[in-house]
Amino acid sequence: MVDKLSFGYNSTEALLQNISFKLAEGECLGIVGGNGAGKSTLLWCLLGLLKHSGTVRLFGDIPTRKTLMRVGMVFQNPEDQLFMPAILDDAALPLVNRGTPIRQARKTAQENFEQMGLGKLINRPASEISIGERKRASIAVALSTLPELLLLDEPTAELDGRAVNQLVEALRRLPIARIIASHDTNFLKKTTSRILVLCEGRIISDGPVSDVLNDRALLQAARLE
């Protein structure tokens, strides 16, 4: 739940103003907006990583290290998440941090990679796989801890058509709540049920995906067309 969230890097200019919305269990929310609309900043505020005014509650609590353990995040740049010599260990690491023995953690991680179609690449470092594979690997890493909420920041950036389709299939199979920040309206049409349109740090529309993305005037106002 987000209530009257506002944020600015300095006191004179607000990047986000009075953002309020709720996310139901298992719901998939898309945050859409042009470049610099505040999509990524909003995700960072949701994680409590930027100091903001207003209220953010994850699973009924303010974001703490404990609540953040129930959240998975896919960063725009997968290199921010993958740093181990093998991507398998990148996905096993969060489980080991929670006390799971390494063998069991690797087994769970391997299952996640197989679901993402990356079973053959698990022993390679992130630097030796393609950007699309890296993106899917970072989703496998985020899913390895069985999060209850998944945040995705520009998941289709730098992906080709085939990789986008694989990502759509992977996301559709997930039963958990998801927030996807993107300016790719086609991708959001296929993966989300509700859309929140951000323009210059404000919500200008919040509604079902078919209504919002068919409103051309609204998309033009949000600099998406």
């Binding site: 960072w44 998440q81 010599p85 929670r98 023995p101 390494i102």
Partner: protein, 179 residues
């Protein structure tokens, strides 16, 4: 086990060199460190390229010392020898099998993860700086001169800001991984 002993010995030697002030010991440890460094790199060209930033730093430092009439050979020798020994130990670490030390609550795992993290960050910065310097070299007319140095300063400044930005994201990623 042998490799681990060699790495620990090299790091211990680096600490010892950093602490000693005996000029003769420093003079003798400098070539020894250099040979170990060459052996660890296994490629003369690459090892020399890696030496450029630290050489620039030493030359700059020595010039400042000389300007203020306080040049100390020992200090430069120390920096170089410590660089040779720590770089060699870093290169001898079997990075690919580091995942095997991941055990819940293990102190060694925390240390190894920290090293892996630093290595990853250093590699990313190296790639970013190469990109930035290539972009700069494509956009300047002359390699020297006022504008050239100004653009170099801007490039380094932007690299610093990018490094801060990336570090912030890495930090967030690690929190979400349960650290």
């Amino acid at each position: 086990m042998i490799r681990l002993s060699v790495i620990i010995s090299l790091l211990a030697a680096a600490f010892w060199v950093a602490g000693t002030n005996n000029p003769w010991l420093l003079i003798s440890s400098l070539p020894a460190g250099f040979f170990i460094y060459l052996f660890a790199w296994k490629s003369l060209a690459k090892s020399m390229r890696a030496l450029i930033p630290v050489t620039v730093f030493i030359v700059l430092l020595s010039s400042l010392q000389w300007l203020y009439q306080g040049f100390h050979f020992e200090f430069s020798a120390k920096i170089l020898t410590v660089f040779f020994l720590t770089t060699s130990s870093f290169r001898l670490v079997p990075w690919d099998s580091c995942g095997n030390v991941l055990h819940p609550g293990s102190k060694l795992a925390v240390t190894v993860l920290y090293l892996l993290f630093m290595r990853h960050f250093a590699l990313i910065l190296a790639v970013e700086s190469r990109r930035l310097l290539t972009a700069r070299s494509r956009s300047i007319f002359k390699p020297y001169g006022r504008w050239s140095f100004r653009s170099l300063a801007s490039a380094l400044g932007s690299l610093f800001l990018r490094a801060m930005n990336r570090a912030e994201r890495f930090y967030a990623a690690q929190i979400l991984k349960g650290f």
